[in-house]
């Protein structure tokens, strides 16, 4: 049991106020309190990447962060990557176009990571994005299609 703290977060551009116990991980606040399904606890150890979110623009494991640690900060989840008109982001669209999903439980985390990699280095090579994705695991083994989506994005960036 923990004493609850009331705090404010920016989630996908919206300010939200939540009351959470000190030992609640961010993944549970996002998923269970705010209904953001794309954020999924799988390993609980920061290894698999299915709970990946962007914290002030950098990717983090929301299972290894307490919500109280990120009070006042800005969080983006996969749901928040889509454009205002509801259309998919460039990276999301490349995943759809290349069939880069199977059961897709890991895919929102993959997309978050690819977005962050390009934000950090817009001219990243396919090999660099691949290294960056090393901590996002996919049990269906969709890696080949994911790299095809990444290749398309890298080409598009250069054109």
């Amino acid at each position: 049991m923990s004493s609850n703290s009331q705090l404010t977060l920016s989630v996908n551009g919206n300010h939200v106020t939540v009351e959470v116990p000190a030992d609640e991980a961010l993944v549970h606040t996002l998923r269970d309190r705010l209904g953001l399904r794309s954020v999924r606890p799988t390993c609980g150890l920061g290894i698999c990447g299915t709970c990946t979110v962007q914290l002030d623009g950098v990717v983090v494991s929301s299972c290894l962060l307490l919500t109280v640690q990120v009070s006042g900060r800005s969080i983006r989840t996969s749901e928040g990557l889509t454009n205002d008109d509801g259309s998919l982001s460039r990276v999301q669209q490349a995943f759809v176009d290349n069939g880069a999903y199977q059961c897709a439980y890991c895919i929102p985390g993959m997309v978050m990571t690819v977005e962050a990699c390009f934000a950090e280095s817009p001219n990243a090579s396919v090999e660099e994005v691949r290294e960056y994705l090393a901590g996002n695991l996919c049990r269906c083994g969709t890696y080949v299609s994911i790299l095809e989506a990444v290749t398309e994005l890298v080409k598009g960036e250069r054109e």
Partner: protein, 743 residues
Amino acid sequence: MTTSADTLVRRARVLGVSLPMPDAADRVVGTLEYTVDHSVEGMVHARLVRSPYPHARIIDVDVSGALAEDGVLRVVTGADIETAVEIPNPFFGLTRRDQAPLAIGKVRYVGDPVALVVAETPQTARAGAESVLVDYDELAYVVDPKDALVPDAPVLHDEWPGNECGEWRLDRGDVDGAMSNATHLFEATYTSPMANAVPFEPHVAIAVWVDDFLEVWTATQWPSAVRGELAHMFDIDPGKVQVRVFPLGGGYGAKSQLKIEPVVAAAARMMGRPVRLELDRDEVFLTTGKHPARMNIRTAVDAEGRFIAREIDLLYNGGAYAVVTPKAVAQGLLRSIGPYRFPNIRIRSRGVYTNTIPSGSFRGAMTNQAAFAYESHADEIAAGLGIDPYELRERNLLEDGDLFASGQVMHDIHFRELLQDVAKVIGWGKERASPAGKAIGKGLAVIIKTTPPGTRSEVRVEVHADGQVLVHTNSVDMGQGVLGTLAQLTAHHLGVDIEKVRVRDPDSSTFDSMTAGSRTTFVADHAIGEACESIRRQAAEIVAGRSYGSDPGTTPDYEEIMREASITALIGEGVYQSTPSDALSNPLDVKGEVADHWHQGAVAVEVAVDVETGKVEILRCHGAAWAGRVVNPIRARQQSEGSIIFGMGPALFEEVIFVDGQVSNPNLSDYMIPSIVDVPINLTSSSLESPDPDADIHGVGEMTIPAVAPAIANAIARATGARVRDLPMTAERVLRAILGEPE
């Protein structure tokens, strides 16, 4: 009316096209609903209390501490279930009803559920579970199947003396005679440990009772099995049990059979409230795993490298409960033979109970373990005789018209094409020079998998007045995109636009044996074809004089026909029932028709071995599957390539490790799965097709996985001269083999 030319164009478009899954955007964004996302009004949350002991008598379960926790509603124990009037049959199981929702009397493995704490919130249920005190009387336990077979070994189930969990034999020809006259004899033993399928979405289920009706939302691959067993458990008509399944966040066999559904349904029944249970990651590890296996092979070979006789002894570890083991070891027998001709062959395949996690289905089940053995063995024979491994396989591969070891005449056999395909892509015969400190080598493997006869699948296709087509099946989408694939098949058979077809998530309104064993596409094609043909016939009867049979040249305008006849829907039902066979009627004499058709696959790899550390890097990999016809190329490719990637883990480093009878690595830090950088960039696959437009569609979900480990083992051996016969082929094992240092 649609012209025949239009129809032909449309039909050409719908099959063999890489259509996206209908819910692709939701999958990528993360808005797709899985079972884990689902909630039901008024539901309460459950948490299991599990045994810390591998084998112990339950003396007492003290639930007072848990009930004292604020918010804990009820604690259910095995004893409660045993005596509950609402649960007339507390034991379940698809082969032997030897398992209770919560252990009754004794626990049989570390992790065996002992009690279920139900509370208002998951957190409270967790706290309550920590407060349940169980008094145990420890019993002697057994982990190794060989130890479980000795005369005074601890017995897990009194009803099954000697820990027997299935034994099957096959004996054809004169093995002893052939062996005694053989020019060359080879013998070796190969082992595979338990591995976990690691579906990312954990096991999760919600049970809701309304009077005598049970609705279960569960992440299962086998909704029909869940329905049947739950109906038996509560002694109600199966029609009163509805099993609802969302797309799965991964299955790979781990969500086959029954897992947590019985305990959730029992608790919901006893409490009169909807109950939800979601497992933690470590509990997923404790729930099921790949059968550990030990396979000994003796082979007699003539001077030309032809296999004259083979003797196989297979021992599978079934774990604490039978689940599917007694039947699975029969498939284990059939899948141990490999794609080769054996004039004389004798096989014994046994399953045994031990105090470990109950073994169950796993992607490539009962084929992975055997293929690692027989394909490694093939290369060992080739090396012993100084014959090229490709050539040795060529001389022994089964062909159309050959007799399988069971005596069945084989058709639709394509091993040579598969072998040629992978050898060509990998550049077989062209060896690369190894850089300093590395040894580079290539390896091949070819596999066969039986598809069990006697399975059944039902579909119902409805064409509505507005032209929309609704397909009811009990096939589960677990990432293979089956709903899209079945829509493509329906559009093809009906001759309508794919956009009009929607395949519903499973809801028990139709029966399907399982979504497993790479059987769905094959059987659904037959069942959907039949349903669509029935609709075409109905249309033809309405518009008398016309023929709308299966001729693709004539597709009716269903909307117009229904409008003219003033009917709201055309409904067609189709069943695929494969011919039952008596091949398995006598466990000690397996013979006859053992497969509906034959799954066939091959893999070739090139590896670089660091000779100082034993670390294996896969440089190049190509897999090939016999597809017959491809419905959706990207999905087929992802099955073959995903299967290869999935197979790399258990080949190189995945192993569920037992220390003192307990799993020491039930998490993704200590149990690692392959990452994107563990996979070669150069990973490709072929789905080989028949020129015949009516050729059988073969499933491709598991055609490459069994060949991965032996292909790697063979490449390591060709690179270094060192043979590893135990999985996983960890860097340490490879180094020990190179240095000749036993474990």
